[in-house]
């Protein structure tokens, strides 16, 4: 059985092992690109959010390559994500493709519905199969954790690199290593290896006052996929920002298993701000935690906060409205910047806005340092 799944940035090794682990053959679509996107744009509804169009393009490419099993994650609302797979299935069927759509319900992973999916993918009815399924799940978790480590290191180190491009190179190398390792032992060893690889990057440690610390958060697909967000993480790094990002696939999975205490802390932060409009419940997407992160970063004395989301995303826009006002009213002293991405976002405008934002942060920081009499 040949299956495919849509891209979400560097997370593909984890999803891949989820399929290969139970014995399915994987077709990996090309990383998202402009050419591939054309097909998705042509067939998606005009006003739908961007991840829909991107994932649809992935599927169309895979179907054209002869794959006939698609896997798509889904949620139980309240944002549009829960409708993705059904509408995509409809569109693809109307286009005349013949395939089977598997969906991964991830509204609450503790209901273990995902086992059903893995069972269906493995086509193996024996009881022993459960061993394989749990082994696969563990591999998936380990890999996603390693990917999280890599992505966190990447964000923090890029602004110090001496030779431009070293970090990106290391990042790609590590992702490949994660993909190649397929036993628990190998993966355990990789943990150290990854650290070493990043240590090898020639860095130029600068004064703490010079480096800007920026928090990055937003909707998960947009935040994790460099094609969708125009590689905003790299751009920020090259502009001299230490990018901190808690969001990752592993973080999300942990949350869905109800063991993500960091997120619980963020929820608490949010709820404690009820008087000025802190969200009181999960409204879908990442809005609840994005706002929590904003408060958290503000309290930890970060310099900036970047919020990215698909253009017209319902939950994130709710968060954006409130965050805009918070900074306007000076409740928190950390300027947020917002980027809504879709197929029309231009590169030039993004760079202009980012550069001016970083300059703003620099000015602000200098003023603060001078005021404190340090310089």
């Amino acid at each position: 059985m040949k299956v495919t799944f849509p891209h979400m940035g560097n997370c593909w090794p984890a999803f891949k092992v989820l399929c290969t682990g139970v014995g399915a053959e994987v077709y990996l679509p090309d990383p998202n690109n402009v050419k591939q996107l054309d097909a998705g744009l042509k067939h998606s509804p005009e006003w739908v959010c961007f991840p829909f169009k991107v994932t649809l393009s992935n599927f169309i490419e895979a179907l054209d390559e002869g794959v006939d099993n698609l896997v798509m994650a889904t949620d139980c609302g309240p944002c549009r994500f829960g409708f993705y797979y059904a509408v995509q299935e409809r569109i693809l069927r109307d286009l005349g493709y013949d395939f089977k759509m598997y969906y991964l319900p991830q509204g609450d992973l503790l209901d273990f519905k995902w086992i059903k999916l893995l069972k269906a993918l493995s086509e193996d009815k024996s009881l022993l199969n459960y061993f394989r399924i749990f082994r696969t799940a563990r591999l998936f978790l380990m890999k996603s954790q390693l990917i999280q480590t890599v992505e966190k290191l990447e964000g923090k180190i890029r602004c110090y690199e001496v030779n431009k491009g070293d970090t990106t190179h290391t990042l790609n190398k590590c992702i490949q290593l994660i993909d190649d390792a397929n036993t628990f032992n190998e993966l355990n060893k990789l943990r150290k290896r990854i650290k070493n690889e990043f240590d090898k990057i020639e860095i130029n440690k600068r004064d703490n006052n010079e480096i800007l610390k920026v928090g990055l958060s937003g909707e998960i697909q947009v935040t994790l996929d460099p094609f969708v967000n125009h590689d905003i993480k790299r751009k920020l790094g090259e502009l001299g920002c230490e990018v901190h990002m808690n969001l990752s696939l592993y973080d999300w999975i942990k949350h869905k298993f109800h063991v993500n205490f960091h997120r619980k802390y963020l929820e608490y932060l949010n709820k404690s701000q009820k008087n000025i409009g802190g969200l009181q419940m999960d409204i879908g997407g990442e809005a609840f935690w994005v706002m929590g992160e904003y408060i958290d970063y503000a309290q930890r004395g970060f310099d900036g906060f970047v919020h990215i989301y698909p253009f017209t995303c319902m939950p994130e826009i709710t968060a954006k409205s409130i965050l805009t006002k918070w900074y306007g009213n000076k409740y928190f002293d950390i300027p947020p910047i917002f980027f809504g991405f879709d197929e029309h976002s231009g590169e030039a405008g993004l760079i202009t806005r980012l550069e001016s934002y970083v300059d703003l942060l620099k000015n602000k920081k200098e003023k603060k340092n001078n005021g404190n009499g340090r310089k």
Partner: protein, 356 residues
């Protein structure tokens, strides 16, 4: 502490167009004065647009406008319920879920907000009402009586609309003393029967939809809104595919209504009104358009926003009605055809269609 005859402001926006009759009776029975914001007008749109961020959908911008309009009216409390879910298995769109927070977070100098959660996943409606009553410091007995009356009124109100009254007229009947009102069945000869489907706040707000219903009536079109359809059809959750049931509360009634119309085919055309940037609508529009195409029922989606000119909407609607009438009566150009097609520069060769 809330004293009797406090003024509670209710924005005439969003779910006002669905649940207002219920809360109106309930609150009035509890001895509260209700202050409504003005009907939507250009001033409300302007002021709302100034407060809301540009990317947000128009209904929300209007909501801001209505809230700000209420602030001028000297109210003691602002009524912003948090609608999470009104039937089991459905949720409202994220913006509804975060509405009180958004209002609190973005508008300054607010009076205290009366916020309570309507969440059928967690508690039945009467408990939500009980909570609201307790916020107003009423006794359980008072709340019970008020709620029973409110439910009775709401049912009567819905029945009036099923009998064919528009939202505005039904509300007038509810407000009048004469409850024995029997709507007269108007028999007019109409050219087509067209359903206007969409959220209450788009369909019944004649400002934002540019008086669409009146305009259609003038074109001799028999207009049906989803509230005019029988109540039974809204009971079951709509199925999107065999693995997915619809989970959006606001879209549920739209999908049920449209599916009912598709089944009975007792309609000449469907106009779907949605707002620019509306998330759920962007997807269900796609589903309904595809279904309509398969069943060959004329269907058009109108996207409303605060900048859209009246001209574009009217052109579309007129052409849509004309299309239906010409199709219904099978009007073709019947005059003698020229023997040779005149003046064609180049003729088609391929016969394969391209799909978009």
């Amino acid at each position: 502490m809330i004293v009797i005859k406090k003024r509670i402001g209710i924005p005439r926006s969003l779910l006002y167009y669905k649940y207002f009759p219920l809360w109106k009776t309930f609150l009035e029975e509890l001895g509260v004065e209700i202050v409504l914001s003005d009907r939507t007008n250009s001033k409300i749109i302007d002021i709302g647009g100034r407060y809301a961020i540009d990317e947000i959908c128009i209904p929300l911008k209007l909501y801001y406008g209505h809230v700000l309009n209420l602030l001028e009216k000297n109210i003691d409390y602002l009524f912003v319920p948090r609608y999470v879910s009104t039937t089991i298995g459905t949720y409202f769109c994220p913006k509804f879920l975060g509405l009180p927070d958004m209002v609190r977070g973005t508008i300054d100098n607010l009076p205290p907000i009366i916020e309570f959660e309507v969440n059928m996943q967690k508690r039945p409606m009467y408990l939500s009402a009980y909570k609201l009553g307790k916020v107003l410091h009423k006794s359980t007995w008072q709340i019970k009586k008020a709620y029973e009356k409110a439910i009775k009124d709401y049912k009567y109100f819905r029945q009036l609309m099923v009998d064919g009254l528009s939202f505005k007229k039904a509300l007038n009947v509810l407000n009048s003393k004469n409850r024995n009102f029997k709507p007269k069945k108007k028999i007019i000869d109409y050219v087509a029967k067209i359903a206007i489907i969409g959220h209450g706040y788009n369909v019944h707000d004649s400002f934002i939809n540019m008086n669409l219903i009146n305009k259609l009536n003038k074109m001799k079109v028999n207009v049906v809104t989803l509230e005019n359809l029988p109540l039974e059809i809204f009971k079951n959750q709509t199925v999107i595919t065999n693995t997915l049931e619809n989970y959006w509360g606001n879209e549920e009634e739209i999908l049920s209504a449209v599916n009912y119309l598709f089944e009975t085919k007792d309609i000449d055309g469907i106009i779907f009104i949605c707002s620019f940037c509306c998330g759920p609508d962007s997807l269900i529009d796609e589903i309904m358009a595809r279904d309509a195409k398969k069943l060959k029922i004329p269907y058009i989606g109108l996207v409303l926003d605060e900048h859209s000119g009246q001209a574009g909407v009217i052109t579309r609607v007129e052409a849509f009605v004309d299309m239906i009438v010409r199709k219904k009566n099978n009007i073709r150009i019947i005059y003698k055809k020229p023997t040779m097609p005149i003046g064609i520069i180049n003729k088609s060769e391929k016969e394969v269609g391209a799909e978009f």
